[in-house]
Assembly symmetry: C2
């Protein structure tokens, strides 16, 4: 018997309607309206970029964390220390999107006079797509960087077991007539979801993605993730970048690091205590914003007009595909992948909102 959620596999939902559903589901889980709206905004923006793995489908584990104590519905993130160019934020295990928005906004506000500012966040959890917070800065004429540690799942050169997280790094930079350039990458060679997808399909993976439980390269996913581990991108380079992110977001913030970070996807999650680092650079401090944006446009246009490789149709800037998907989502509505639909109807059932969710779809 197929999942009833899959009745909506060909239907579309407008991003604003998906967002209002998320707000209701989160509010029903004990968060304030304001916190629910801030969280839904992060998740649905991520869906509009086509990054469905980090969008609204994450409501399932987020609400599980609220139920089991990994996150606290009534907690308020708090700025516990600050100076002219920095803030330290204690998340108190509030919804990490709420904490992260507050922290990045504080960095932006500090950077306006200092030129650059750093926000250190501790006692937080899974903050969703790193890129969301970087784009907050770009929307305010700043360059934004966003990074977080996550629970260990990646090995390093010389080891055979998970040692560090696939710690992501994101940045965003505004342009003039061109769209904001933004990148959001994990420091692993590929997303773990791609390994799981190959495993589900019973297919081998390319060499260089995984090591087995003796640390040997493998293309066999059959015992993953119980055994073996994913590799960093470009060997020692990805390892070194993952460590930099661990240090800036975990060690320096007072959060947990490496094996101290608890897995937020556990069935009975404890507070994860992930740490985040946000950096905002105020363009106007360095150079007139209009001058900078014209220079960005020139840079983008030079890259885009490079001679194409055989078979290539265009050269994309980082973020360009995401903006085009977002435009399409607002124009035509979102067509959600099956696993997202299943997750959303699961949340709807938990929160008594099944009819409310179904009614938001435009069926053909």
């Amino acid at each position: 018997m197929s999942n009833p959620a899959l009745e909506f596999a060909d239907a579309r939902i407008h991003p604003d309607k998906l967002k209002s559903f998320c707000v209701e589901a989160i509010e029903a889980s004990g968060l304030s309206r304001q916190h629910a709206e801030q969280t839904a905004e992060v998740l649905v923006t991520t869906d509009t970029w086509g990054t469905f793995s980090h969008g609204s489908r994450q409501l399932v584990p987020l609400l599980n964390n609220l139920r089991k104590g990994g996150l606290k519905a009534d907690a308020q993130p708090e700025i516990v220390d600050q100076g002219s160019g920095f803030v330290v934020v204690d998340g108190h295990f509030a919804m990490p999107m709420v904490t992260s928005r507050l922290a990045m906004q504080a960095a932006i506000d500090k950077a306006r006079s200092a030129g650059i500012a750093y926000a250190a966040v501790r006692r937080s959890g899974h903050y969703g797509a790193a890129g969301y917070y970087a784009v907050m800065a770009a929307d305010q004429d700043m360059i934004g960087l966003s990074m977080t540690n996550v629970d260990v799942c990646m090995t390093v050169p010389g080891a055979r077991a998970p040692v560090i997280g696939t710690n992501p790094l994101a940045y965003a930079v505004p342009a003039g007539t061109e769209r904001t350039v933004f990148l959001d990458i994990a420091t692993s060679v590929v997303a773990i979801s791609k390994v799981i997808a190959a495993k589900t399909a019973g297919k081998p993976i390319p060499e260089g993605w995984l090591v087995d439980d003796r640390g040997r390269p493998t293309t066999d996913t059959s015992t993953y993730p119980d055994k073996g581990a994913i590799l960093p991108m470009s060997g020692h380079k990805g390892y070194g970048l993952a460590l930099m992110i661990e240090i800036l977001s975990g060690v320096l913030t007072g959060a947990s690091f490496l094996s101290g970070v608890k897995p937020w996807l556990a069935p009975d999650p404890e507070p994860a205590d992930e740490g985040h680092a946000f950096i905002a650079v105020n363009i106007e401090s360095l150079m007139g914003v209009e001058t900078f944006k014209a220079r960005m446009d020139a840079m983008i246009q030079e890259v885009r007009s490079a001679p194409l490789a055989e078979g290539a149709e265009r050269i994309y800037m980082p973020g360009e595909m995401e903006w085009e998907r977002r435009d399409a989502a607002y124009r035509q509505g979102l067509q959600l992948p099956d696993y997202v639909l299943i997750n959303l109807f699961n949340v709807a059932e938990q929160t008594g909102l099944t009819d409310e969710l179904a009614a938001r779809f435009d069926k053909e």
Copy 2:
């Protein structure tokens, strides 16, 4: 007839003696004693790390730049703008190591009260090993980041020609009983020198390093670098990181960017106008330095004690190999690779210091 420099192939030279030779050679090329010492310090520190490609052998192109007008022997780098958390430095095409040390030190000084600071550098050139400046911050109990754009030599996904430089990123972080963690990487899949080495040896390279002049993957180095281009590490990830560095060091600093950067290795180089970006984060602003260092030691020891892969003998931290090579260099002297010896004796001949260089080696 073999090169007379190769008489010293089995000889060793103490780093301090190599440095004093470099100082004399640079002074003979018109720089002040102080600028010569600062430059030599960067180059020889790089040699002691075993990063010979970026060490004293670069005196040949650096002195060529001084002769041909790519660099100005009597120029002084100047802070042209500043605020509580930033400085803008105009290098005036002075020796880039002098400019870069001044800029990173200015960032460190600003960060002491602001918490974090950014130094933007324009009108500079090839600054050697990015890691040197990051380590300056670590030596002063800060976290240092260092990046620069370079002339275009790397392609990007969808293109078939060089579009952007192999823009390097370096960071350094102090620890307690453990050594400073530091990483210095190009954003290309491998160093171009490895491609050239394979070409010289007449060997094919692994797939994934190069594209040919139609943008197709190739293992044939025979027409490189006239045709084809090196690839970014991890495809769109390395491309996106190279762009971030281009923006922070080139677009935002007022330096040239992409094809605007002139090749410093040209026979008759014009001023390269590379830009650099330095960031210093003051640990003490965020957390007691001793607490932080103890946390770093704990992190390092956790990584190092991970179960080893089959055949692996130990897990290295970024920078650990370099510190061990530096210890060995001070204990036993440096044994310089042939291409470094040839370059140094070339410089010695140009500057009338051949006997002075030869006398500095300890021959068996």
